[in-house]
């Protein structure tokens, strides 16, 4: 656990889970935004899992999913939770710990 510093390690692999409910516009937007951010910041070292709660409702329980869409950073640890369609890129980066800056902002 302690070897995994959040930000820099080049060999870190990212597993991101995106919870959606069917093909709603918000879900589609979120997926598009996520894809773009990953391409930009994590090229080649990430994996996105899409979990459709309409198809697998029981899967939402473990991650305590209430809002849709919700993005979970499963790896690297610690687990992070981000809600919304990810259109506010700055906030997404903060939430994913990809950009250490802007911590003071709310």
């Amino acid at each position: 656990m302690d070897g995994k510093t959040r930000n820099s390690s080049e060999d870190e692999f990212w597993i991101l889970k995106l919870y959606v409910a069917g093909q709603s516009p918000k879900s589609v937007t979120a997926f598009r935004n996520l894809k773009k951010i990953c391409e930009e910041h994590l090229e080649g070292k990430y994996q996105i899992k899409i979990i459709d709660l309409l198809k697998n409702p029981q899967l939402g329980k473990g991650d305590q999913i209430l809002a849709i869409p919700t993005l979970i950073r499963q790896l690297p640890e610690p687990v992070k939770k981000i809600i919304g369609d990810l259109s506010n890129t700055e906030r997404v980066l903060v939430g994913l710990d990809l950009q250490p800056a802007k911590k003071g902002s709310f």
Partner: protein, 568 residues
């Protein structure tokens, strides 16, 4: 049935019985079916327990499975917390009659990055409902969402959608909410729930905390508007009144003895009606408890169960004292026909006390309940409240066809009738015991002030407590009023003397009359004798004269004959 309900139309408001003691009575049948109800109250007011009991009763009594969405407590915590109330949640969960879903919300973990909704929550609730086929849902408490989501615009829109969705889903729901400063709930949940709002409070009065429940709103249904005290104990929630405050008690024509023959005599010769409420009021030491003893003894002798609730004396003390007047109640207690329950009212809050009393009655199922004295309540809390509580208790006893025997200790000598006004109107029969002070003595008098449906005696009887129990004596009604005690005895003696004097006089006069009759009789006899002798005397005289006359005649004949012989 479900389809029928929908066909019949929207006008009839279907209700979902809660199974919580008393709540269905004051809501007229339960919560609005297939609609959300808001249950609000401050922390510790009993929201969670009430909501959970709604599900437990639904599952056990009405075969309606339930879903509990817990936003604040985990499943384990909930199971543990209500185990003390006798709710076995684990069993219900295993039987698929209940599902508890703990929804964890932690603000600090969540980053909001744009448009979102709460579809995840909807899906989760939906899944829980489908899992057990739930008809009842509890969301405790949705306000936790406000701490987890900063975008209240989205949140409020989603809440509105949630309530609509719950209605469409056809589940009867309870939404809990924390009491706010100026509004019913901190986050204004009441604006989303328009059908039924119930408020729970925990109020302190005279250092006694009581829980209270009020139906703030119930659209499309009549309901009680008062504050109702309620209690949480090892049996769940009980709201008073446990019975409805209606007047449709059944009545009985059966009469039961009071245990005092002379008193039965005063009550049309047959005693009280079964199931009626009887009030005995009187000042201290007028014999109220003794009458209770007779009542208990008589009922037990008939083989009926008696619950004796004493608020001022211990059961041992009562039994000893009643033993001294020849009433031996221990035997009935041993046989299980008599149950004593002695406790001071002030130990608990009034509601707690009354609720425990309801439970005693429910468990023991007595034919007669004795409350001695009923005004133990009045000394305790504010009077109006106490009186309404008594009303509810009497009502409860009555609606269960139990004969209620209540004593009331009155304060002054002649103010009984005013102090008892409020409760006396509930009573079917009212006996008054009063002191009658005269000639330096204090005696007891009993009279029947009222007795519904019984041709009762209008007389005051003297009430004696003897070693053989209570005795009622005819009292003297003289020109100076009623006489009791020694004056009655004196009067009795005086009357006896008077009687004797009269008898003597009659005898004397009779003698005089007899003598007079005798005197006259003798006179009559004398006169008759006189007459007889006079008669004889006169008759003799007549005879003599007749003889004389004859002689003269004879002489004349003889002379004539001789003259003719000479002449021829």
């Amino acid at each position: 049935m479900e389809e029928k309900r929908k066909e019949v139309g929207l006008e009839i408001l279907e209700k979902s019985p809660t199974g919580i003691k008393g709540l269905d009575d004051i809501t007229g049948g339960g919560l609005p079916q297939a609609r959300p109800t808001l249950l609000c109250g401050s922390a510790g007011s009993g929201k969670t327990l009430m909501a959970l009991e709604f599900l437990v009763r639904g599952a056990v009594l009405f075969n309606e499975p339930g879903v509990y969405m817990a936003f604040e407590e985990t499943e384990q915590e909930l199971i543990r917390n209500v185990a003390s109330l006798g709710f076995d949640l684990k069993k219900l969960i295993a039987e698929k009659k209940l599902t508890i879903d703990y929804v964890h919300i932690e603000r600090s973990e969540i980053e909001e990055t744009g448009e979102h909704d709460l579809e995840g929550l909807f899906i989760r609730i939906n899944q829980a409902i489908d899992q057990v086929g739930a008809k009842r849902v509890v969301l405790d408490t949705l306000e936790a969402l406000f701490s987890g989501f900063s975008n209240t615009g989205i949140l409020r829109a989603e809440l509105r959608r949630l309530f609509r969705w719950l209605k469409n889903k056809g589940v009867t729901a309870i939404i809990t909410g924390e009491r706010g400063e100026s509004a019913l709930t901190r986050h204004g949940l009441e604006e989303y729930v328009s059908d039924c709002v119930i408020l729970l409070e925990h109020v302190e009065r005279n250092h006694i905390y009581t829980r209270r429940l009020r139906i703030v709103k119930y659209r499309g249904s009549k309901h009680e508007t008062n504050d109702f005290p309620f209690l949480i104990d090892d049996d769940g929630i009980s709201i008073l009144p446990i019975t409805s405050l209606t007047l449709d008690h059944g009545v009985s024509n059966e009469r039961i003895s009071s245990g005092v023959a002379a008193l039965d005599e005063m009550l049309g010769g047959a005693g009280f009606y079964r199931g009626s409420s009887i009030l005995i009021s009187g000042t201290a030491g007028t014999g109220k408890t003794s009458l209770c003893g007779h009542m208990a003894e008589a009922a037990c002798r008939r083989g009926e169960k008696v619950l004796y609730l004493s608020f001022e004396e211990s059961s041992k003390q009562i039994m000893r004292n009643l033993g001294s007047i020849g009433l031996h109640l221990e035997q009935w207690q041993k046989k299980g026909l008599l149950q004593f329950h002695a406790e001071r009212v002030s130990i608990y809050g009034l509601e707690a006390h009354l609720t425990s009393m309801h439970k005693l009655i429910d468990a023991f199922k007595p034919a007669v309940v004795i409350l001695d004295p009923i005004n133990a309540y009045l000394s305790n809390d504010d009077e109006l409240e106490a009186k309404t509580m008594i009303v509810r208790l009497i009502d409860y006893i009555k609606s269960n066809y139990i004969t209620g025997f209540f004593t009331n200790l009155t304060a002054g000598a002649s103010v009984e009738e005013t102090t008892d006004m409020k409760i006396s109107s509930l009573m079917d029969c009212w006996l008054l015991l009063r002191d009658i002070e005269e000639n330096g003595e204090r005696n007891r008098g009993l009279y029947v002030l009222k007795s519904r449906g019984i041709a009762n005696s209008n007389q005051i009887r003297e009430f004696l407590i003897t070693a053989q129990g209570v005795e009622l004596k005819e009292v003297y009604l003289g020109s100076t009023g009623i006489l009791t005690g020694s004056s009655r005895e004196v009067q009795e003696l005086l009357d006896q003397e008077e009687e004797m004097r009269l008898e003597e006089k009659i005898k004397q006069l009779e003698l005089v009359l007899e003598r007079k009759q005798k005197a006259i009789q003798t006179q009559i006899e004398l006169s008759e004798m006189q007459m007889k002798s006079d008669e004889i005397e006169i008759k003799d005289k007549i005879d003599a004269l007749k003889r004389q006359h004859k002689r003269i005649d004879l002489k004349r004949q003889v002379a004539q004959t001789s003259r003719t012989k000479k002449g021829a």
